[in-house]
């Protein structure tokens, strides 16, 4: 728990400092009211819907992979038909007709998220000890140094040793960021660290695959809230 508190303390203070500066800047420019009301409306309209394929892809790419020429694309796990990708939630049309489609979770898009995120989790787990992921057996993309370090710490194992809570917390933060509340982390941690965990005797790669899959399928990660 102290790791969580320490982690939060450093980030929260930074967050408020930056937040205050931005708020002052916006209010001094006289645009705060209009911007706020627009943002509230836009976010409020889509609460409970998927963030969508592009937004989720961007989150994963930013948190896990090195910024560079080769871009990560979740669609690489979804075959060649682009319309399949659209089922994960996407803005369509332009101007007044612009709307977000397929944002409501259903059996088909949950199946697709499951396929795509399982595939990604599996490739990451398989990459243990390597600074890069190999997607679908051929495409290599470098992790960003922070994620590579945190993944590496778990890959060294034993991943489920209680003494490694710091590694678990760091791994959680690397993937989930500020998206999910603390209770989600605690439940995730306890699930894997409990002696009764179905993964208690599993190999590191299997555990990492499960850890990632659970984090990716967390509603705070996938849904607008």
């Amino acid at each position: 728990m102290r790791y969580w508190n320490k982690f939060c303390a450093s980030r929260v203070s930074k967050f408020w400092s930056y937040g205050l500066a931005v708020a002052l800047l916006l209010s001094s420019s006289g645009c705060s009211r209009r911007k706020d009301s627009f943002e509230i409306k836009a976010a409020g309209n889509r609460v409970g819907e998927f963030k969508g394929i592009l937004a989720t892809n961007k989150i994963i790419a930013t948190r896990l992979f090195k910024a560079g020429e080769l871009q990560f694309a979740l669609s690489q796990y979804l075959g060649s038909e682009t319309s399949v990708m659209e089922l994960l939630g996407i803005y369509s049309n332009v101007g007044p007709l612009n709307d977000f489609r397929n944002g409501t979770p259903n059996s088909l898009n949950m199946l697709l998220w499951n396929i795509a995120l399982s595939g990604l989790s599996s490739d990451i787990a398989e990459s243990c000890g390597s600074p890069q992921i190999v997607i679908e057996g051929s495409l290599k993309i470098d992790y960003n140094p922070q994620f590579a370090e945190r993944l590496g710490a778990l890959c060294k194992g034993p991943a489920l040793d209680f003494k490694n809570e710091e590694s678990l917390l760091n791994f959680w933060w690397a993937v989930e960021g500020f998206d999910a509340p603390r209770e989600e982390y605690l439940a995730w941690r306890d699930f894997f660290m409990s002696p009764q965990s179905p993964y208690a005797k599993a190999a590191s790669k299997e555990v990492i695959h499960a850890m990632l899959k659970i984090m990716f399928l967390n509603p705070y990660f996938l849904l607008e809230n």
Partner: protein
Amino acid sequence: MTLYSRRKVLKSGAAITGGLCLAQNRFALGEPTKEPHFYLQLYYSGGFDSSYLFDARPLSFTAAGKIQNYLGQDPTPWVGSNGQSCLASSLVAPLVPFREHFSVINGVLAPSRDDGHDQNRNVLFTGNSFGGESYFPFLNEVLTPRGSLDFFISGDLSVPFSNGMSSISLKAEGVSSFSKLVANSKGLSSQEPAVDFVRSRLQLGSNGPGRFSEGIRNMLTGLNESYSVANKFRNIDTQLGQSDSRILKELKSAHKLFVSGITNTFVISDVSNRNNLIDLDTHDGESASQQPATYAAIVAEIAETFSFLKSTVFDESKGLSLLDVTTVLISSEFNRTNYQEGMSMDKTGTDHNSLSNMMLIGGKGIKGGQVIGATDLDVLDDKGLYQNLSKAHLEFDPELIKRMGKPFDFDTMRPASESQEDFNADQYLTMASIANTILKMYGCDESKYWSNTRNSGKAKILSGLLT
């Protein structure tokens, strides 16, 4: 002797009344139908010019400067089995072999009289210009077994549906590609401990009242059902006939999804536009002049649809074809005006006309071969002036370029003989009546029925349309 207090009596009375109401409601709902019943809708965006289909006018009208006719042929009467008739263009000839399988509905009016494509598309699918509840999920609700997806849309359809959680948009190629993806996916097990944990977290988060909790509930339901959907997709044939027409590919896709239990309702949107046919939104004369070819192609697609449904065996032991178990609705969002104001008859385009829509409805549950409803601007006097115009028409269309649905007598299923002094949408054929007729056919609860306006009651049923 036991004395009952007033409180006890009231409580018992309330319980009995409540019980009776529930029972009545249960009977009204009826048992879910176990007979297979699919619903197929062909939607053509842009606005049908029904004068090239089942609501034509004689060439003498064109000569009098009342309506364009780039076909240059006189229409002929299309006489329905109910004794009603309409004038049909010669382009509909390929539909003659199927005439007993569908009924023509003319003069379906949009009560709001908005003239935009989007508003009228929304009315067609939700009964409201701004979008809202679709009736498709209600059809699925009463079926046993229910389709995994409430409805399935092939092609683009920008309608803001407020219900139908499990609806998606995927063309035939997408269905094939998706099936292959699912078939090749590894490690998808509903028994996976990680997935069990995800379920338990979703269950916890789904108990709240807000929209985020609703989203979590949807995720949980979706996740639980996704494994069964995966199995259904794994089992469908992913082959596409490369030489098949666009419509045939979509129909085969619909058939696969119907029989696999993935969905019971399939909407094919904009088949022709994806065939690179000319746009139906023919505002300019050049586009309008292409209409004979456009509507010939559309009629060919409709004929191909009925041919496919009729020739596809659904249940050999019972002698049922796919058409026997599928209700079909074909329409655009509205019809088009007779001409564009200020343009000569040989160079004119056409504009939007929400005072009338032409639909074809057929298949399971529908009494085919009929002609239902009619439009005005159908009688000219010796001086070339329209006769029998209603006050409503003169108010809504003083230029007299929009054929308007005639008031309709729902008891006799014929256009009303007396014209209405004041406009009342409930006395016209509207999409609400069509939707309610379909809901009635499925045995859906009357609370799901549409109204024509916010202040009116439920729109009347077209009982003569049902078998």
